[in-house]
Structure formats: C-alpha cells, structure tokens
Amino acid sequence: MGHSLRLDAYLQFASKAFQREATYRVEVFSEIGSLVLRVYLIRALWTALYAHNRAPANLPLHTIITYSTVALLLSLIFEVDGTRQLREKIRLGTIATDLLKPISIPGSLFSDGVGTTLLHAMSVIPSLLIALLLVHVDRPPDLAAGAAFAAAFALGYAVNFLLNFCMNCVAFWTLETFALQLVVRWLSDLLSGAIIPLTLFPGALQGVLLHLPFAAVYSTPLFVYLGLIHGQQIGRALLEQIAWLIVFSGLGAWIWSRGRDRVVVQGG
C-alpha cells in the first residue's frame, strides 16, 4: 500500500460510487418497503413479549424498541460491502490491471464503500422518518453520549470494513467464497447484537460475545447510544474497538500482501 495518498483520487472514487448507486432507485424503494415491515415486526414482537413477561433489569420496552430500530437503521449502512468488488475483480482477473495503477486498491475500495454508504445513509433519512411514525425512538441520554456514539459508530464502520475486506481477500485462494461469506454474514448478525442485544444471551456466552470483534460493529455503538454503558465503560469499549481496528488492519495488510504476491507471481 506504499502509494502516496492522493486524496482527490479517492474522493473521485467515492463520488463515482454515489452516482452509480443513485441510478438504482428501485432498490431504495424496496429497502424502505422492507424496513416498514421490519419496524412493524419489532413493535409487534416486543410489545407482545413485554405484555406477558417480567422485563429484564434496565431494559424496558422503549429501550429495546429503540435498540432494535437503531440496529436496523445501522444495518442499512453496515450491509454495504464496498470490498465485494474485490471478489469479482479477482474472479475475472481484472485485479491485474488495477494493480498496475498508481493507487492503493484497499484505499479505493474504502472510498467506493464510503460513497455507496453516503447514498444509503440518505435512504436512512426517509426510513427513519417512516420508522418514527410506527415506533417511538429514544434519543441518546445526553450530548456526551451522542458524541461518544458518533465515535463508536465510526470505529464500528472501520472494523466492519476491515472484516469484509479480509473475507473478500479469501477469493485470492479459492474462488467460491459467496456461500462462505453468507455464512459469516448470518453468524455475525447474531453474534454482533444486530438482531437482539447480546445481554439477552445466557451469562457465560454473553461474556464471550461482548468481547468478540463482531460486538465492536453493532453492540458497542448501540449500548453507547442507549446509555447502557457510561463513564469509564465507554472509554474501555472505545479502546476495545480501536484494538480490533489495529488487529484487523494488520491482518488485512498481511492477507492483502500475500494475495497480491500470488497474483503477481501467477501472472508472471
């Protein structure tokens, strides 16, 4: 990745991705349609569960509805996988010409992902408005929690990008990675707290899950948002996210250089 950082080039990648995605307006509509159904389902399910059971400590109905709804909105952003192109580029062999260009491929994928994400983030706004018609979403308890949420979200976004990047790099070794990726996607949805809060899992399992890298993507930003962790706990959670960021940056760089060498050597 030793190329000089040409910011304008990467901004171009981001804006190209934004324009490309904007042509698929139909998908935005289907996203909003399925979002309405899911928000309705969140309300129906948790309302029914809280009607006949004792609520767990510090998880009243409005908190869990906020948790699930914000998790759903976050998933609209996190499900954008800018690195998916990498798999196609490797499969078709066009990665070879990209390697000749004076840009960093991981950098261009990140910019592309950011551009795509920006468009999806814009579709989050109408989605949020519709969601607010169906359910009441709490705001973060105070300004500090809001700021900490922004930081945790940015770190979660970066960790998510690196996890996807490492997954897609597997295509350097085996071309059939689609099913594998879907398996990891489903499992990480469950283990990251994207479907239900990790605190609902039984004790010992919960302790493990809260410290896996998946938790850094969804669970940490959501707990910060809801004020379920505060003070020093927030600092520790952010540090843990940073630690995962460093670990996966290293792992990503290593896999990437190994994979690139394979292409260069094979290509002659």
């Binding site: 139909v26 998908e27 509509f29 289907s30 349609g33 399925s34 159904l37 899911r38 309705y40 389902l41 129906a44 399910l45 309302t47 029914a48 569960l49 809280y50 009607a51 006949h52 059971n53 767990p56 059939e176 099913a179 594998l180 879907l182 398996v183 489903w186 499992l187 949805d189 469950l190 479907i195 239900i196 609902l200 899992f201 039984p202």
Partner: protein, 259 residues
C-alpha cells in the same frame, strides 16, 4: 420424472459447492432459531407460546417452504427471463409453459428439505405433540397445502412481471413478509396484518393455524374453529387455482403484445 433425475445427477457433480451451501442453509436457519431461543430464554411466553411450541411452528413452515423451494424455485426467475427477453423460448416449445419453467435445470439441492425433516422430527418430540393417526395423515396434507400456498403467491408475483417488468421490490417485500412474519404466532399482530396473513396472502395456513390445532392452542382472533388449520390443502388448492388463472391471463397478454 426424467427431469428430476437429470437434476439429481447434475448436483452430484458439484460436491464441494454442495457442502458450502449446506453450511449456509444450516447457518441461516440456525441463526433464526438461536435468536428465537435467546429471546424466549428471557421472555418465556410469546402470546402464550413457549419456545418448544415456537420451534414446532418454525418446523412446519420450514417443511412447506423448503419443499416449495426444491420443486418450484425457478418460478421466481420468471421476471428475470422477461427482463432479459429469454422468456420467449418457452413459448415456442410444444409443452405447457409452466411445466417447462419448473423443469429448467438449476442448482437446487434437497439440503434444506433434509434439514427441515430433521428439525420437524425433533420439534415434534420437543413440543410434546401427540402422534396419532390424525397427525400422520394431516401433516403431509398440511405440508402439501403449504407448498401450494407458497407456489400460488410466488406464481402470482411472477405473473405481475408481464405487466410491470421490474417486480423486485414487490418480491422482496412479499419474501420478507413470509420469512419473518411466519416465525411468530399470528396473534401478536394487529388486526389488519392478521387478516392479511390469514385470508389474503394465507401464510398463516402454512404453519400458524395447523400448529394451533396440533398443539391444542386457542386463537380467539381469527380461528373460527380449532381445526381451521386442517383446511390448509383446500386453501392451497383454491389459491393455486386463482394464481394459475391469473398466470394464464398474464401469458395471453404477454403473447398478445409480443407478436
């Protein structure tokens, strides 16, 4: 029959792929069931249903849905054929169009159905369902009804592609309605949604109403009689007949404008 045999032989050619997709199938349903399990671990009763009963509810849906996917998956591809213009090749051949589409060679493995059978046997035992002559006769009929309901709705959705070429949005919404709303007892929804799931897109007949019968639950909302769920095959037949007429109508229109 010949068509199924050829398909089976094709599948055996791709063994490594099969293992990957089997892992995917297990992960998909495993995650859904684990999330239900963790939720009901904290909240033991969902509108009077415990986790054992929810497991049975899921198993009934899974049996019908996976059988439908195995046999009729290619119907979902009709909008793609129409978009790409490859649909016309079915029209020039001397066989029923729907039969041809259903027998298009594809890579659908019976892995999901196998998993569904295993889970169903387990859930039946786990939920303490009484196995008697009625159960043994009714289950295959209910599953057949479920397959027909699934088939009717996917056929009707595909038919809309003859008028509006892009139906991805609609398909997506109907699909998530089916996959996510059938996981829970229909009684948790508001009246409009309950009526929709019972009598418009009758997914409730795939699992909810039959489960109400097999588990001796009561539903004050919509089930007029406890054995309503046993009408699943009849509901499936009626909805399929309606969907098939709609399909013929769409086909005529397509041929009318096409030539």
């Amino acid at each position: 029959m010949q068509a199924w045999r050829i398909r089976l032989l094709t599948m055996l050619e791709y063994k490594a792929n099969f293992i990957m997709w089997f892992a995917f199938t297990i992960a998909y349903h495993g995650v859904a069931i684990a999330a239900l399990g963790a939720t009901l671990y904290n909240f033991p009763s969902l509108a009077g249903w415990n986790f054992r009963q929810i497991a049975f509810l899921y198993a009934l849906w899974m049996l019908g849905h996976s059988t439908h996917n195995l046999l009729f998956f290619s119907i979902g591809e009709v909008p793609v054929y129409v978009q790409e213009g490859t649909f016309d090749r079915f029209l020039v051949r001397p066989r029923d169009v729907l039969f041809q589409i259903v027998s298009v060679p594809n890579q659908q493995w019976p892995d999901e159905l196998a998993l569904a059978l295993v889970w169903f046997v387990f859930a039946t035992w786990y939920a303490h369902v009484r196995i008697d002559a009625v159960f043994l006769v009714a289950v295959p009929l209910v599953v057949a009804g479920g397959v027909l309901i699934d088939l009717a709705i996917s056929l009707a959705t595909a038919t809309i592609a003859f008028w509006f070429v892009r139906v991805d949005t609609l398909r997506w919404v109907v699909m998530s309605l089916e996959q996510e709303f059938t996981r829970y007892p229909v009684s948790i929804y508001t009246r409009g949604v309950r009526i929709l799931l019972a009598y418009v897109l009758p997914y409730a007949f795939m699992n909810y109403f039959p489960a109400v019968y097999f588990l001796h639950k009561s539903d004050q909302g919509l089930a007029i009689v406890p054995w309503l769920g046993l009408l699943a095959p009849a509901v499936g037949a009626v909805w399929f007949a309606a969907a098939y007429s709609f399909w013929r109508l769409g086909l005529n229109r397509y041929q009318g404008t096409g030539s």
